[in-house]
Amino acid sequence: MTAIELTNVSRWYGNVVAINDVSMTIGPGVTGLLGPNGAGKTTLLHMIAGFLEPSRGQLTVAGSVPWRNPGIFRAIGLVLERDSVYGFLTGAEFVTAIATLHELANPAAAARRAIDIVEMADAQDRRISTYSKGMRQRIKVAAALVHDPAVLLLDEPFNGMDPRQRLQMMDLLDAMGQQGRVIVFSSHILEEVERLSGTIQVIVGGRLAASGDFRAIRRLMTSRPHVFLVRSSDDRLLGSALIGRPAVTGVELTPRGLQVRASDYGAFTRELAGLTRAEGIRLRELLPADESLESVFAYLIAS
């Protein structure tokens, strides 16, 4: 069962491309949207929730187009990072109000159930203006869950939470994913995604850089050979020094510089600097020659 389907979706603002030709399908379970800040994760979530029109491509949620279709929110629960809530309401009043807007048969009971799920029963009669950021986040999750949606979208749900709240939210999302709900959350923190989601979609620079099972992607990144183009003050000397290293499996002298095949990405990049210094070689340029995963590496290594 495919809940969310994107086909060649792009979104641009004037000349700036925010999302570039992304195709993906997201089914039941927890899916993490991973990428650095500004990569386009939020733009993607806004489009899935119908709060932004794709400039090009098709996007459906539960078979319907979300744009200009408020009815889609019967199937979607949405927790955004930046939106605020009416501070003058108590948690219970707020979630009940949202339940009423969803026209649920028994808003108060639905609100109680949702508040229990996020473990906010103790604080539900306090005004939201007195809540901590983590509590606010949880009451927003309760409001998003109150109509028992098939799809739950969360933008950076762990921001501002303390470690205990973070673990609790992870358990909650995990449990809901196992129940067959479609949970999509965005994060720029690798550990969160690693801990929580079986499936990840890596977004870098508006493009879908990698997609699939987290462990498979990680394996792919660390174990496959990588090709680098190195330019230095003495390519020939550097080549002979590099070939003696276990992390390097091949060196080729080309007119554009030295083409190096590394079996171990991490070891190679760590050793290169020391090696050039020891040999008195000046390093001019180091380019990953593998375009498709370059950006993913850059990001994952940085984090």
Binding site: R11, G40, P70, L80, S84, E103, D148, L172, A175
Partner: protein
């Protein structure tokens, strides 16, 4: 936690994608959504800056009482209340309220919580509009009536005319300002420009502009009861009412249309 969460969400997944089963039949709420109406009134009254709109009406009533006690000329009520009431107090009250019911919630992001539900966008607009119009009547039209009642008596044509005209203006202004706040994030600026340049400057110079000036609708309606040349009304009652209805309906329809395409900025740019 995990255990509790699993218990609480134990419905089979197959039932879910079709939408929740616990929905209460067909739409119970009409076009106006009472929850949004209530929340909007509470939010507007709770904002500190909102209390600015209480200042002008207080001045209006106080000055009227003062004039009543001291003024020798009998012509001040329509002159003062018509000019100060309809070109200052009422439009400014409507501007502050009308741009805050929707505009302030778009700015601070609370509106997204409401929009992330299946409520029709026309309902959202109408509920916000009615809240704004009701508050403007309370803080603009009622004080104007009180001032008129102080000046010429509670059942006088002037007092009742001011009330009717001000209530009509509250409706039309707020429809316009609600539309403005959906269209632009600088609704207050454009609203002020409309009031000062269009109604204030052009309205006094160019006769045709008056047909598209809300203050003229209000004066036309007020004058049908007050019947005094000193209100400087230029439109007849049928024209004033017809234009009020037309402008209100068009503004609200456009606002709902625009809100249906409500977009959030992403993280890029």
């Amino acid at each position: 936690m995990t255990h509790r969460a699993s218990q609480a969400i134990s419905r089979p997944p197959a039932a879910r994608l079709a939408g929740s089963g616990q929905r209460a039949g067909r739409s119970r709420s009409g076009v106006v959504n009472r929850v949004i109406l209530r929340l909007t009134i509470r939010a507007t009254m709770g904002r500190k800056r909102a209390w600015i709109f209480a200042i002008a009406p207080v001045i209006l009533v106080c000055v009227s009482a003062l004039l009543k006690l001291t003024a020798r000329s009998p012509v001040w009520p329509p002159e003062f209340l018509g000019v100060f009431g309809f070109t200052v107090v009422l439009p400014l009250t409507a501007l502050i309220i009308g741009t805050s019911v929707l505009g302030a919630e778009i700015d601070d992001g609370t509106l997204v919580q409401v929009l992330a539900t299946p409520v029709r966008r026309l309902s959202v607009v109408l509920s916000k509009f009615i809240a704004a119009a009701a508050l403007t009547v309370a803080f603009g039209a009622v004080p104007l009536y009180l001032a008129g009642a102080i000046a010429t008596g509670p059942a006088s044509g002037l007092a009742l005319g001011l009330l009717a005209g001000a209530a009509a203006a509250a409706v039309v202004y707020n429809a316009l300002f609600v539309l403005l706040s959906v269209v632009t994030s600088r609704a207050i600026v454009f609203g002020l420009l409309y009031l000062l340049v269009w109604e204030g400057l052009l309205g006094s110079l160019v006769a045709g502009v008056r047909l598209l000036s809300v203050d003229q609708y209000a004066l036309g309606i007020a004058n049908s009861l007050a019947r005094t040349g000193r209100l400087h009304a230029h439109l007849t009652l049928p024209t004033a009412i017809g234009m009020s209805v037309a402008v209100t309906c068009i503004a609200l329809a456009l606002a709902a249309r625009r809100l249906a395409s409500f977009s959030l900025k992403g993280d890029v740019v």
